[in-house]
């Protein structure tokens, strides 16, 4: 197998007692597009609406599901592997929500942004998917070509938590 290379090789590491920002590599991301019926047939129960994560399935549009599971056969669906397209950045710690609130115009309050949901929004004008994995753990799916810029932007916002 060829060597996989991270987009964040030259990123300046960040860590503090309240906050960890690391790359979370090695994931499989596959997009399935198609009708509700065909998608359900291939993937099982689907997240009800955009913004919900269920069994590692993220509904990113009415007709598109992102799956973090191993790729499956999906008759009548249209499959697009996207594992290289995104760099995954994990932000965790007691200040994680505060850092995110400095980066995107989304209400990250714990009563509003709960585990098992995600938002697609912009950071520094770049589209980013933010998945609330647990109360204080978040995964950012960033377009790979912008990953370093977003890493810099987010870890710079996190300076105050050092």
């Amino acid at each position: 197998m060829l060597n996989a290379l991270s987009a964040l090789l030259s990123a300046k590491p960040y860590s503090s007692s309240q906050l960890t920002i690391v790359e979370a590599p090695d994931f499989t991301l596959t997009q399935y597009a198609g009708s509700e019926k065909d998608l359900r047939k291939a993937l099982g129960k689907l997240p009800a609406r955009v913004g919900i994560v269920q069994d590692n399935l993220l509904r990113v549009s009415p007709t598109q599901i992102w799956s973090l599971n191993e790729a499956v056969e999906a008759p009548n669906c249209f499959v697009t592997p996207l594992s290289s397209s995104r760099t995954r950045i994990e932000i965790s710690g007691s200040s994680a929500r505060d850092v995110l609130a400095k980066c995107a115009a989304i209400d990250f309050h714990k009563s509003e942004f709960k585990p098992g949901t995600f938002v697609m929004t912009g950071i520094h004008h770049v589209p980013v998917l933010i998945h609330c994995v647990a109360g204080e753990i978040f995964h950012l799916y960033v377009l790979r070509t912008f990953a370093l810029a977003i890493w810099d932007h987010v870890s710079d916002a996190a300076l105050e938590f050092k």
Partner: protein, 976 residues
């Protein structure tokens, strides 16, 4: 000569914490809790600045951000800030402040001669002169006039501060922390909902801080401590609400104390907003009312009660309303001798009695005729029946109160005038907005508290909160006195009776504007510059508007106010910009091969957001020469180049072929699987949108590529057509620009290079012909080999998932090293394609038709495609349109240049020419400069001699029109 002193009464400064600071080079000291202005006053500094136009000596008049005069340049080097407002600048150790607009010094200002010219410098002065003697004479006068204008100095040093941003959301935003705001915030916070209280000051309490009343102070403290106990309530001090934008976006600007950032700008989306912004006192207008020592009565009270700074011995108060008596009584209590010049004829009994008790002399039906003293008030002459001259250290004036309606009006609701209080209040509120206290014209602490609570309850109700809440406890105090005011706007035109202190607008100017017909409040403002200074007329506007209304005989409501615009107070631009500036202005977009380029000597160039490898060290150190070596490599051997920035789109679905057949001018319906085709898209208007190569992967799947520049545009456009118009087509589009990296392997040895890299693969012409596509798996990674060529040589593109692009690139370089393969950059890439006559960025400028680019013939005659109808508009088909040609330089030692204008050899060199050069390169094959150009009539003129005119460099170069395909016209190399 000091006219102020510190008292030893309890106040809000911390006398145990002395603070030292520097003013105009002198070391001074104050206390924690002071503002720059209060500390300066306490140090006896009353002459603090010079006015804008006449350079009149000026002192502080206010105790808030409405201050027009006491502006300083603070900080040093990269932190130098002009026009800092003294009365709201918290005194911290090490502040350096300088007075402004005075040279050589504050006390002796040369430009003060302007004062004596003031009869000429009347309203509209500049419009009436400096027109002669010559047509462009203004250019002679302007530099001198410019120098005299401006307040502080902006230094070019790079800013060393951090400015940060935050996005916040809340249920209730309360703006202002006076009695109304505190009551509103506490009520709202008790609900447990998310509340933000924003206060511009570094202390909470608004007018309570100035009252000197113990009961109010206790109430203030208990509200604050309750607020601290509510988990979902954020209290933001030093935070100004600067503007309200559509969708209840409130811009809050915070200057935090313990934070790496100098400022934090919060974009707050509030479900409801309570305005508790209070009111600002108005000055009175009389001769020399701008002398240092003439101050707002409420400000005198604030300096006394909050900062412990009192006039030395004597104060005169001039007023048209009751509120100034609080100042009078508090001053008397602090052993200041007080005289009141009361504009009204009668006064209520309780005030008279209390005044008598304090030994305060009141002159009814009186006023100020003149102020004596230039750099500091020494005495006043009373007007009216008692024409006495009274010595004093301060003159405290009160012309009534103007509610701070600014923010309530940002959304476009005009304020309305209320006769009873002689003031404008909010003209109404949208459903999610509420007002409480001074902003509503409710000028008493008790009433303000009640209104604050009511407003909060209304906001909670709107939010659907329906539980019972405790009532706010009131301070143990008497009810408020009723507020009473009598206006006397009519003021004689006096060249020293100032209405706008900062911009030096006098009553005479207003009268003159009226005479000249600048009647509308907006004309008055623009003609006299009234209210256009850094204070935006917070103290002056209403006085001026009222005078104009009076001159016109109009009721105030009809005259109206000028438009309130954000920001509420001058707002540091760095704070608005935040962190997306300088090197981080726009995110950098990096190819998956970026790190490799860096490690291997690439110089980069910006291409939109992308950073692309421009040329490599191995070929040289300058863009002018390196690319030539890189071109030679490709023409003679084999090179490898990063093409990852191309837009790439996955098009899938049973109708994918039909879809592409519609959006491309040429046919895609019958493209066989495993083949690629060059395609061009038009906009609906028939103008070229983009081009690229698209290949068919399966019956239902295509791999579409776009130019780097248009990738986003094309993607949105395809989505638009599919989602909004052609919903019957079952097609899904997904961007693969980030998923796939790509490299071009080009040159006569490219096949050998790939064979070395993939020894088990059959890539002979039979297996992979020109425009063939082959999907492979290599070491567990899928890859796509496309045989296509931008350079005109035998060439391939290899695409693979971005995670592995570098590994694959290195693999090819390693295996083909024996051939001498090397990387080539964007400059060579762009030059090679010029030799081949491929159009790209510079030649495609949103103005070209297919035919302009020589591509008309690829469009399907029978088939329908986007843009077809409008493509055939009359002028789009005109024979004299400028279309693509090649150009060869005909003069040795000269060069062609992009942007040169083309003329036929016999033309006179003037006008618009017959075309222009779009892109130029040195041709390594032809050994001369060649170019692509657009030319009137295009290739009809092939072989003709032309002139390339470049008057900007006084150059005319002889050249010849040729085919744009400079090399390999038959395409033998491609098909090799």
């Amino acid at each position: 000569m000091t006219s102020f002193r510190r008292t030893n009464k309890p106040s809000h400064i911390d006398r145990s914490k002395p603070i030292s600071f520097v003013f105009d080079g002198k070391q001074l000291s104050g206390f924690a809790g002071d503002t720059l202005a209060s500390a300066l006053l306490a140090n006896g500094k009353t002459l603090l600045g010079r006015s804008f136009k006449y350079h009149r000596p000026r002192g502080v008049i206010a105790a808030g951000l409405e201050e027009p005069n006491a502006l300083f340049t603070t900080g040093v080097g990269g932190r130098t800030e002009p026009n800092t407002i003294g009365p709201i600048t918290e005194l911290v150790n090490g502040i350096t402040a300088k007075s402004q607009n005075a040279w050589p010094s504050l006390a002796f200002d040369v430009m003060a001669v302007n004062q004596f010219l003031s009869p000429i410098f009347s309203a509209g002065f500049y419009y009436k002169t400096f027109m002669g003697p010559l047509k462009k004479s203004w250019m002679m006068y302007e530099p001198i006039i410019r120098k005299a204008a401006g307040l502080g100095v902006a230094v070019p040093d790079v800013d060393t501060a951090r400015y940060e941003q935050r996005y916040t959301f809340c249920d209730v935003l309360v703006i202002g922390s006076g009695p109304a705001g505190l009551a509103a915030a506490v009520t709202a916070a008790r609900s447990g909902l998310r509340v933000i209280l924003a206060e511009q000051d570094f202390e909470l309490g608004g007018c309570l801080l100035s009252s000197g009343i113990e009961m109010l102070e206790q109430w203030r403290k208990s509200q604050i401590s309750e607020l601290e106990s509510h988990k979902e309530c954020r209290v933001l001090k030093r935070t100004t609400a600067q503007g309200i934008y559509d969708g209840n976006l409130v811009v809050l600007n915070c200057s935090p104390q313990k934070h790496p950032a100098a400022m934090i700008l919060e974009q707050c989306r509030a479900k409801t907003i309570i305005f508790a912004t209070g009111a600002i006192e108005r000055p009175l207008v009389f001769g020399n009312n701008d002398r240092p020592g003439v101050m707002l009565a409420s400000a005198v009270r604030t300096y006394l009660n909050r900062f412990g700074v009192a006039p030395k011995k004597r104060a005169v108060i001039v007023t048209n309303n009751d509120s100034a008596y609080q100042t009078a009584f508090d001053l008397a209590e602090a052993d200041v001798a007080v005289t009141v010049a009361e504009q009204r004829a009668t006064l209520s009994g309780d005030l008279l009695a209390k005044a008598a008790q304090f030994g305060i002399a009141i002159f009814p039906s009186s006023g100020i005729a003149n102020v004596i003293g230039e750099k500091q008030i020494r005495a006043v002459r009373l007007a009216g029946r008692h024409a006495a001259t009274i010595e004093c250290d301060v003159l405290a004036m009160s012309g009534g109160w103007s509610p701070v309606v600014h923010l309530t009006s940002h959304g476009g609701i005009k304020p309305k005038y209320i006769e009873k209080i002689s003031a404008f209040v909010p003209g109404g509120f949208v459903p999610s907005h509420f007002g409480a206290g001074g902003v509503n014209g409710t000028f008493g602490a008790m009433a303000a508290i009640r209104e604050g609570e009511t407003a909060a309850r209304a906001a909670l109700e709107l939010l659907g909160f329906d539980k019972k809440l405790e009532v706010i406890e009131l301070p143990a105090m008497r009810e408020d006195r009723a507020y009473s005011i009598e206006l006397q706007w009519t003021v004689p035109a006096d060249k020293h009776a100032f209405v706008d202190f900062q911009n030096d607008v006098t009553t005479k100017d207003i009268k003159q504007a009226h005479q000249e017909g600048y009647l509308s409040v907006e004309h008055l403002k623009r003609y006299t510059t009234l209210g256009m200074g850094t204070d935006q007329g917070k103290t002056s506007n209403i006085n001026a508007l009222a005078m104009m209304a009076d001159l016109r005989g109009l009721p105030m409501n009809e005259a109206g106010t000028t438009t309130f615009r954000p920001p509420y107070a001058p707002l540091t631009i760095g704070a608005i910009a935040g962190r997306s500036v300088g090197a981080h202005f726009k995110p950098k977009r990096l190819s998956p091969l970026h790190d490799w380029h860096v490690a291997n000597g690439a110089t980069f160039i910006e291409a939109g957001l992308w950073m692309r490898a421009w040329y490599y060290e191995w070929a040289g150190n300058s863009p002018e020469t390196a690319y030539i070596k890189e071109m030679e490599l490709v023409r003679q051997n084999v090179g490898i180049s990063d093409v990852s920035s191309l837009g790439k789109i996955d098009v899938q679905g049973p109708d994918a072929a039909e879809f592409l057949n519609r959006v491309y001018v040429n046919g895609f319906a019958k493209l066989p699987v495993g083949r690629a085709r060059y395609g061009v898209m038009l906009n609906d208007d028939g103008i070229v949108l983009d081009d690229g190569t698209t290949s068919r992967i399966s019956d239902t799947q295509f791999y579409l590529t776009t130019t780097t520049a248009q990738a986003g545009e094309v993607m949105s456009w395809l989505e638009f057509l599919l989602q909004m118009h052609w919903i019957d087509l079952n097609v899904h589009v997904t961007s693969l620009t980030d998923e796939w990296g790509g490299m071009a392997v080009s040159g006569p040895n490219s096949r050998r290079a790939l064979q070395l890299a993939f020894p088990n693969l059959d890539i002979t012409t039979e297996a992979l012909p020109y425009m063939g596509v082959m999907d492979i798996e290599f070491e567990g990674v899928p890859a796509r080999i496309l045989r296509l060529s931008f350079s005109g040589e035998l060439a391939y593109e290899v695409h693979c998932p971005a995670n592995y692009t570098t590994a694959l690139w290195e693999h090819i370089l390693l295996r083909a090293d024996s051939l001498g393969i090397k990387p080539y950059g964007l400059e060579a890439l762009a030059s090679l394609r010029i030799e081949k006559g491929h159009v790209a960025g510079a030649d495609l400028d949103h103005r070209n038709t297919l035919d302009d680019l020589g591509l008309g013939k690829i469009a399907g005659k029978e088939k329908d495609y986007v843009g077809k109808a409008l493509r055939f508009r009359e002028d789009c088909q005109a024979p004299e349109r400028w279309s693509l040609v090649g150009i060869e330089c005909m003069e040795d030692g000269k060069r062609l240049r992009g942007g040169a204008i083309l003329f036929a050899a016999s033309d006179e060199i003037k006008g618009h020419g017959r075309g222009y050069i779009t892109s130029v390169t040195w041709s390594t094959e032809l050994n001369k400069f060649i170019a692509l150009a657009l030319y009137n009539g295009g290739l009809k003129h092939e072989g003709e001699d032309i002139i390339c005119a470049f008057p900007l460099k006084n150059e005319n170069v002889k050249a010849r029109i040729v085919s744009p395909h400079f090399i390999d016209k038959a395409g033998e190399r491609l098909h090799a």
